[in-house]
């Protein structure tokens, strides 16, 4: 009899220990703070995909559409600083809402812009906003509060000229965030918001944070 009771007691103790261990090891475990990393994101924006300098997309069904290159699906780590360089090759078409001429949500509040002035001379400087009529595109991730206007290439700049825009922003937790352009830059479409503005893979995509 005593032996049986002992077995039952031992069994109960084992089960209790297992349950406590389960709770302790899994249910109460807090994920550690993710180590912040720095990741670079290098992109190119073009007036027509067929004009791409760095990342041609020869088989694209819409070679005359504007687009971001080389891809519109970006993978970045969570809770990290993302350093972005955009080689912007499109001319200005202007913002419908001039408010987006100001940069939001980037480190230090400014972006560094290398561009060519009206006389075609190279210039560079830190900017917190641009003339909204001179915006070619925007880099915007609304759910992260990131809105960055991209200065269009001036009319007097030499063919093939690029404006180099660099800035950085911080990601939050893992998730899929949409990004889009706020310039109505889809040539030949109603309100400039059709075609590449309304099709994944051109002027909109996803930022996948893992």
């Amino acid at each position: 009899m005593i032996r049986r009771i002992s077995f039952v007691a031992a069994g109960v103790v084992i089960v209790v220990i297992a349950m406590v261990a389960f709770v302790g090891l899994f249910m109460l475990r807090q994920p550690g703070q993710l180590e912040g990393t720095t990741t670079k994101l290098h992109l190119e924006t073009v007036a027509a995909l067929s004009d791409a300098v760095e990342w041609p997309r020869p088989n694209d069904p819409h070679p005359d559409w504007v687009g971001y290159l080389p891809t519109t699906t970006w993978h970045v780590p969570a809770n990290s600083t993302i350093e972005v360089q955009i080689d912007q090759e499109d001319g200005a078409s202007g913002l419908r809402n001039p408010f987006w001429g100001k940069a939001f949500g980037i480190e230090g509040g400014t972006m560094h812009v290398k561009y060519f002035d009206d006389q075609g001379n190279p210039q560079e400087g830190d900017m917190s906003s641009i003339d909204p009529t001179m915006a070619a595109h925007t880099f915007a991730i609304p759910d992260l509060g990131v809105f960055v206007p991209l200065l269009g290439v001036g009319d007097n700049a030499a063919p093939g000229t690029q404006n180099i825009i660099t800035f950085s922003f911080k990601t939050k937790g893992p998730g899929v965030y949409r990004w889009q352009c706020f310039v109505p830059c889809a040539a030949g479409t109603l309100f400039g918001n059709g075609g590449p503005m309304s099709t994944m893979g051109y002027m909109g995509g996803t930022l996948i944070v893992t």
Binding site: S129, P142, A187
Partner: protein, 293 residues
Amino acid sequence: MGMFRIEEADRPHIVRLLIIWVILSAIGIVAVLLINYPPYDQTVQGQDQASTLRLLTVLATPVFIGVVMMTVYSAIYFRRTTTELVDGPPALGNTPVQIAWVAISAILVLFLAVVGIATLSSENVAQAVGQPGRAIGQSGGQTGSATSSSGGPELQVQVIAQQWYFTYRYADYGGVETTHLYLPVDRPVELHVTSLDIIHSFWAYQLGVKADANPGVDNIFHVTPQKTGSFQVRCAELCGLWHGHMADSSGQVVSQSDFDTWIAQQQTDFDTIAKAVPSYAPFYFPEPKLKAG
């Protein structure tokens, strides 16, 4: 009066049904009164809508229970018991039943009509029919609005929809534009909803406001926040590729002092782009309509 007599054979059913219906209806009404109805009570208008929803649910509960009860009761007590196919007795009309359902339906519908009209004409309605609100840029609490008589001057906020985000302009603070909607508690707000491109719908669920945002239209709604806390804004009109993402969970109802601090910071931020932003206007037209190729 002979026609109003109930057949002797039907009396047990009627008594049984009445007892079941009264008990279940009482339980059902108590249960639906315990529900916290959306859009809850963050604003006066939201609370009003929740109260209306509660009233409708209370009135609908006995009707719903009656219909379900009759269906179930009939399936149990009046089901066909043999495999033989036999027609039921012909239904030639029943005056008491007809009078009852017409009278009860009429009373319910007329009562709801009175409630609806009273609600639409109340001061708390979000969109006051025939009340245009004050003109854009006009200083607060002077004309027109449905709620300007309480809680101080109305705060005028323009909601600007565009593919695919909402921005906000505060007319009473120099037309400053912001990326999130902040509202002070206990102060009536006049929302001017418009669009820069296509048709959107501004839906601030917890505020009890859902307003069409059309280009070239100034759609005016009133709301009075009465509780601090966050709220969500989303588009409720299918508007293209990123419609499903046209949302913002950062809306806040805050104290007046917190609002003052926040709007001062927004004005400082806005200064860098203020000169390029057009003057505050009732609405805007999408220009250009067709981007040159």
